[in-house]
C-alpha cells in the first residue's frame, strides 16, 4: 500500500491493539479466574488449582464429558467416511447439478435452531426414543458437510491420471484407493475429521433438541449451559478453560494439516 504518515501508522496500531484487547480480555479474565483460590468468582485471592481438582470429582460433568466424547468420536467416524466418499464421488462425476451442491452446503447454512427443531419433529414423529444415538445421527448431518468440503478442496488439485495409471497396471479399485488416492488426500481427511470432532464437541443447540429428556444423554455444552443459567461458579471457569484449550489445539492442528481451508 501507499506510504503512510507516522500519525496514520500509529492510528492503525492503536486500532489493532484495541480490537485484540476486545477479543482477548474476556477470555483472559475467564482463564485467570479459573486459577483463583477464592470462592468468589470475580475477586482475585491467590493462585490455586482447586477448581480443576473439584471438576475431577464432579460426576455430572464427568458423565457429560464421556457422552460428548462418545458422540464426537462416533459421529466423526461416520461423517469422515461418508464425507470423504461423497467428495470423491462428486469430483469423479463432475457433471453434478446445482441441486447437489445446494444439498451439501445446506447443513452449513441452515440456522442451527431450524435443523434442531426439524430433527426433533422428525424423531418424535417416528416415535424414536431420543438419546445419544439421535444426537449422533444429527451431528453426522452437519459434520459430513464440513468433511466433504475440506476433502473436496484437496481433490481440486488431485491428478486423476495417476488413478488411471494404477488401474492400467492392474490394481483393483479398492487397491487404487488404498495405495494411491488415500495417501494423497490423507492430510485433508484427517483435517476434516479434526474439524468434525471439534464441531461435534462444541455443538450445543442441535444436541439440546435431539437429546430427549433425562441426564443420561447430557453432553458437555448442555451441562455448561445449565451451569451458566444456574449462576457463576469458579468450576465453570475451569471447565471452560479446558474445553477451550482442547478445541483450539484440535483446530490449530487441523489448520496446519490443511492450510487455507478453514477461515483461509
Amino acid at each position: 500500500m501507499a506510504e503512510r504518515s507516522p500519525a496514520t501508522r500509529r492510528a492503525l496500531w492503536i486500532v489493532l491493539s484495541l480490537v485484540f484487547a476486545f477479543l482477548y480480555i474476556p477470555i483472559a479474565v475467564l482463564v485467570a479466574l479459573s486459577f483463583n483460590e477464592g470462592g468468589l468468582p470475580t475477586a482475585w485471592s491467590g493462585f490455586s488449582l482447586k477448581w480443576y481438582v473439584s471438576l475431577a470429582g464432579n460426576s455430572a460433568i464427568l458423565s457429560a464429558a464421556l457422552n460428548t466424547l462418545i458422540v464426537a468420536l462416533v459421529s466423526t467416524a461416520i461423517a469422515t467416511l461418508l464425507g470423504t466418499l461423497l467428495a470423491i464421488g462428486i469430483e469423479i462425476r463432475r457433471q453434478y447439478g446445482k441441486g447437489l451442491e445446494a444439498l451439501i452446503f445446506a447443513p452449513m447454512i441452515i440456522p442451527d435452531i431450524v435443523l434442531a427443531i426439524a430433527l426433533l419433529s422428525f424423531f418424535s414423529m417416528l416415535n424414536l426414543t431420543m438419546g445419544l444415538h439421535t444426537i449422533i445421527l444429527a451431528h453426522v448431518v452437519f459434520n459430513l458437510a464440513f468433511v466433504c468440503s475440506v476433502v473436496r478442496a484437496r481433490l481440486k488439485s488431485f491428478d486423476w491420471s495417476i488413478v488411471e495409471a494404477s488401474a492400467d497396471l492392474g490394481a483393483s479399485a479398492l487397491t487404487t484407493f488404498r495405495r494411491v488416492t488415500l495417501p494423497v488426500i490423507a492430510p485433508a481427511v484427517i483435517a476434516g475429521a479434526l474439524l468434525a470432532f471439534t464441531l461435534s464437541v462444541d455443538e450445543f443447540i442441535i444436541a439440546f433438541f435431539t437429546a430427549g429428556a433425562g441426564r443420561a444423554s447430557t453432553t458437555l455444552p448442555m451441562q455448561i449451559y445449565a451451569m451458566i443459567r444456574f449462576g457463576i461458579t469458579p468450576e465453570i471457569n475451569a471447565l471452560a478453560t479446558i474445553v477451550m484449550a482442547v478445541s483450539i489445539t484440535a483446530l490449530t492442528l487441523s489448520q496446519r494439516l490443511n492450510r487455507g481451508v478453514i477461515g483461509q
Binding site: 501508522r9 486500532v15 461423497l86 449451559y225 474445553v243
Partner: protein, 280 residues
C-alpha cells in the same frame, strides 16, 4: 456417495420438509398436532405481538451487524496495512477466539459484565463508589455478545478484498489530488463493499436466529425469533406455530442473502468499471 446422500436426504431434507408441512397444520387441544390444513399459523406470525418480536430481533441483529462491521472493517484495514509477514499472524489471532465454544465465549461476557465483574472493579479502582452499574441482562449486553462472537468473520470477510487491493489505485487517486479521506471514500471503500456485505450478512443472519445470547446475556428479558421458536417447541408445545416461525426466519434469511447477491453483482460491475478506468 450414495450413503452420504441418503443420510442427508433422510436426516435433513425430510425433517426440513416435515417442518414446512407442520406449519400448515393446526395445534391440537392438548398440544399435539391436528391434521387439518390451515394458514392461521402464518397469520399469527404477523400478529402485532409476534411481529414486534421480529422487529425487535431485526433491530438487535441490525445494531450488532453495524457495530461488528465498523470494528471489523477497521481491524481488517489495520491488518492489511501491517507489514506483509505479520498479516497472516494477525489474522490467525483474530480468528483464534472463534475456535472456542460459543457458550464459553458468551459466558466470558457474563463474567465481565456482572455486578462484581471486571468492569465494576475497574470503576471502583478509579474511585467510583456508587451502586455497581447494571450492564448484564440489558440489550447492550446482548449486542456486545453478538458482536464479540461474530466479529472474526467480519474481519476475515473484509480482509480478503482489502489485501487484494491494487496499491496503485490509491496512489493514482492521491496523485490526482484526492485527500486520504476522499481516496478512502471514493476508491477503497467501493472496491471492498463485497467483503463488507458478506461479513454483514453473516452477522445479521446468525444474530437474528440466535437464542443462546439473548437467553444468557439478556437474562431471558429480550425475546428474539430464536427464543420464540425455542419456546414454541420446548415450552408452549405449539409445534405448528413454531414451525411457521422457523419458516419466517428462513424467509428473512433468503431475502437478506438474495439482496446481498444482487448487491454483489452491482459491486462487481463497479469493479469492472474501476478496472477499465485504470486501463484507460
Amino acid at each position: 456417495m450414495a450413503p452420504a446422500l441418503a443420510w442427508l436426504a433422510a436426516l435433513m431434507v425430510v425433517p426440513c420438509a416435515l417442518v414446512l408441512a407442520l406449519a400448515f397444520f393446526r395445534r391440537g387441544i392438548y398440544g399435539g398436532i391436528e391434521y387439518t390444513f390451515t394458514l392461521e399459523n402464518f397469520g399469527l406470525v404477523f400478529d402485532p405481538l409476534y411481529a414486534g418480536i421480529f422487529l425487535n430481533s431485526a433491530r438487535i441483529a441490525g445494531t450488532a451487524t453495524l457495530i461488528a462491521v465498523v470494528i471489523g472493517y477497521a481491524a481488517a484495514y489495520a491488518i492489511s496495512a501491517a507489514p506483509r509477514r505479520l498479516q497472516p499472524i494477525f489474522l490467525f489471532f483474530a480468528v483464534l477466539p472463534f475456535w472456542s465454544n460459543y457458550l464459553i465465549r458468551t459466558y466470558a461476557w457474563i463474567v465481565l459484565l456482572n455486578r462484581e465483574g471486571l468492569i465494576t472493579q475497574l470503576l471502583r479502582w478509579f474511585g467510583y463508589t456508587g451502586e455497581p452499574p447494571s450492564m448484564l441482562y440489558t440489550e447492550g449486553a446482548v449486542i456486545a455478545g453478538l458482536v464479540y462472537n461474530y466479529l472474526p468473520f467480519v474481519i476475515l470477510a473484509c480482509y480478503a478484498p482489502l489485501s487484494r487491493l491494487n496499491p496503485e489505485l490509491a496512489e493514482a487517486s492521491r496523485d490526482l489530488g484526492a485527500s486520504a479521506i476522499t481516496t478512502f471514500r471514493r476508491v477503497i471503500l467501493p472496491l471492498t463493499v463485497p467483503g463488507i456485505a458478506a461479513g454483514a450478512v453473516f452477522v445479521f443472519v446468525l444474530s437474528i436466529g440466535n437464542f443462546v445470547t439473548p437467553a444468557l446475556l439478556g437474562g431471558g428479558r429480550f425475546q428474539m425469533i430464536g427464543n420464540l421458536v425455542y419456546d414454541q417447541f420446548l415450552t408452549a408445545n405449539d409445534w405448528p406455530f413454531g414451525a411457521a416461525l422457523a419458516m419466517a426466519l428462513i424467509a428473512i434469511m433468503l431475502l437478506v442473502l438474495t439482496a446481498q447477491a444482487l448487491a454483489a453483482n452491482r459491486a462487481s460491475g463497479h469493479t469492472a468499471q474501476a478496472g477499465g478506468d485504470t486501463d484507460g
